[in-house]
């Protein structure tokens, strides 16, 4: 076996020793095995004492070539793979993919399927935000919210399990609608859950919103202005916390979202605290959508007429949805065969993570943890 050559690091280029001596700069390697990087993210931090001068992300540790796999599977076979990108919001991934292929086929899912889709994706948004809150708070040093959020997230996963048999990588939807009809008592379960959550969100807020340590650790930390957000392509709660009232569900509605009455919470300062507040309010808005959806769920078929062998006419399509992390888009090129000619995933986590460098500059090294947490990234989606 040949001698393993050292992995070339970008920081080895140039003259590191000279930099050290000249300006007291310190290079600190964080991750990839670090509990606060939420997976396998490696960040190379350039420090001056405790002050961060820059952060460079090294990603790709979880790269599985999802897009290449897509080109080598049929349209239906690729469907479960997309669940493995953002594995804490698998339902959203599946919704985006199924809707994109439906657009390519010029097929529309029936209204009942769209309602089921909205219910499950909104439940998933809650689950994703709960997981985010628990881990983000844990990173900053508040351990209790983690136990609370995991307790409540469990209820959502139980509903998923009862609906389709899986808790995380659900593969809940099919191209053209849903495979499974709702189980007996589905509406009751969702209603019971929705009625119980507001008190639980109050509980989280009681722990954090006016907690002095929490406020000190998050206010004015990792600020990102609206102009920067747009230039960087940042979407989701991070964009909204900077005061831009933009949500794909409202701007370019899909599924059954036009039927529901809900608001898009926005922040003002674009700091970590505002992003926290925006996500908490988003959870309450999701509950509003859920309540309307469960009450208004129409009867009817759950599957549109889709050929057994899916062969969309040649062409290209881009479609996106509002995933818990931001705009999740799929760009599919069809050559008229049974397999996509090209599948491109526009991952919100990947694009949002790019803002890390801008957000941590001038902050303290401890704030890097808070900023990584507030970006709400999932490395499975960043690396695909």
């Amino acid at each position: 076996m040949p001698d393993p050559t050292p992995y070339p690091s970008p920081l080895e280029q140039g003259e590191p020793d000279k930099t050290f001596l000249d300006s007291n700069e310190l290079i600190l390697n964080m991750g990839p095995q670090h509990p606060a990087t939420h997976g396998v993210l490696r960040v190379i931090l350039k420090l001056d004492g405790e002050k961060v001068l820059g952060a460079e992300c090294v990603i790709g540790y979880l790269h599985r070539g999802v897009e290449k796999i897509g080109e080598n599977r049929t349209y239906a076979m690729f469907n479960p793979y997309v669940d493995r990108m953002d594995y804490v919001a698998a339902v959203s991934n599946g919704l985006g993919y199924c809707e994109t292929v439906e657009k390519l086929l010029a097929v529309e899912a029936p209204p009942r399927a769209n309602y089921i889709r909205v219910i499950l994706t909104e439940l998933n948004r809650l689950a994703s935000h709960m997981l985010w809150l628990g881990t983000h708070a844990l990173d900053i040093g508040a351990m209790t919210p983690l136990f609370y959020t995991f307790r409540d997230r469990e209820e959502i996963l139980k509903i998923f399990e009862k609906y389709c048999g899986a808790r995380l990588t659900t593969h809940a939807f099919r191209i053209g609608g849903c495979l499974y009809e709702t189980y007996d008592g589905f509406e009751r379960d969702v209603k019971k859950f929705v009625d119980g959550v507001p008190a639980k969100i109050d509980e989280y807020e009681e722990l954090l919103t006016s907690n002095r340590i929490w406020v000190e650790r998050t206010k004015n930390v990792g600020k990102l202005g609206a102009a920067d957000c747009k230039a960087l392509g940042v979407t989701g709660p991070v964009l909204r916390a900077s005061g831009v009232q933009w949500d794909v569900r409202k701007a370019l509605p899909y599924a059954a979202y036009p039927d529901f009455d809900f608001e898009i919470p926005v922040g003002a300062n674009g700091d970590t605290y505002d992003r926290y507040i925006v996500r908490m309010q988003e959870m309450r808005q999701s509950l509003r959508i859920l309540r309307q959806a469960v009450e208004g769920i129409p009867e009817g078929p759950i599957m549109a007429k889709v050929p057994k062998v899916i062969k969309p006419p040649a062409g290209e399509i881009y479609h996106s949805i509002e995933a818990p992390k931001g705009e999740l888009g799929y760009f599919i090129v069809s050559d008229g065969s049974t397999q996509p000619y090209r599948v491109r995933v526009r991952p919100p986590s990947f694009v949002n993570l790019q803002a890390l460098d801008v957000m941590v500059r001038g902050q303290l090294v401890a704030d890097v943890i808070a900023v990584i947490g507030t970006l709400d990234i999932v490395l499975g989606e960043v690396d695909r």
Partner: protein, 221 residues
């Protein structure tokens, strides 16, 4: 196990596999649709009911008129496919038009940059920009064709968020972006050889030498 994985020959480093299916550039989509790689079973009445002809229709708007008046035949195609507008531009003017779209036409959010590889075409790569305008609430796709080994001006000066997106296109397709501040591989290791999303790169192909040297195993499969 999926059919296509079984049938694909084991990849060998020096011999790129040429894929069987590939739409011919410029040919009507119906010609591509008539191919049935799945075999005889795909001939079903449901398939015949689908529209076989091209779905794209010409797209007219003040923006297209403005660009056509300024650049004439450089705007190769302005069409709308399944309700989605797109522009196909000549390579020489694409960067300039992207600048106009960003600065004058309020397309202030570059959603995505990606590429598509058509190895049999004279200019084998499609570069695709997906743009969105917050004030207009409009999405637009811009495409251009570029040749093998040809580079393209970077858009990082227009939208700073395109930095990583261009790095990913470089990583996966080997398309270089001139003026990019930091054009390195992003998902694959820096000393990896080959660009996996090219069509001549097999699904289970890998940089054997890299795997042996860095992982100490004979194969990653």
């Amino acid at each position: 196990m999926p059919e296509e994985t079984k049938s694909s020959p084991p990849p060998s480093a020096g011999q790129p596999k040429v894929p069987a299916r590939e739409p011919v550039a410029g040919a009507p989509p119906s010609a591509a649709a008539e191919k049935s790689p799945a075999g005889a079973t795909s001939e079903k009445p449901a398939g015949a009911a689908k529209p076989a002809g091209p779905l794209a229709e010409p797209w007219t708007s003040p923006l297209v008129a403005k660009l056509k008046a300024r650049y004439g035949s450089g705007v190769c195609e302005a069409a709308s496919d399944r309700g989605q507008a797109y522009l196909v531009l000549d390579r020489s003017i694409t960067h300039e038009i992207l600048g106009i779209l960003c600065e004058e036409e309020e397309f202030d959010y570059c959603v995505d940059i990606t590429a598509v590889h058509y190895p049999k075409r004279e200019k084998p790569f499609d570069l695709v920009w997906i743009l969105y305008s917050f004030p207009r609430n409009e999405r637009l796709r811009v495409k251009t064709m570029i040749a093998e080994q040809e580079s393209f001006p970077s858009s990082t000066s227009l939208w700073s968020g395109t930095n990583w997106l261009e790095r990913e296109v470089y990583d996966m397709f080997g398309i270089r972006f001139d003026g990019h501040p930091d054009l390195r591989r992003i998902l694959l290791p820096e000393d990896w050889r080959g660009h996996p999303l090219r069509k001549d790169y097999g699904i289970i192909e890998q940089d054997q030498e890299w795997v042996e040297a860095h992982l100490g195993i004979e194969s990653g499969q």
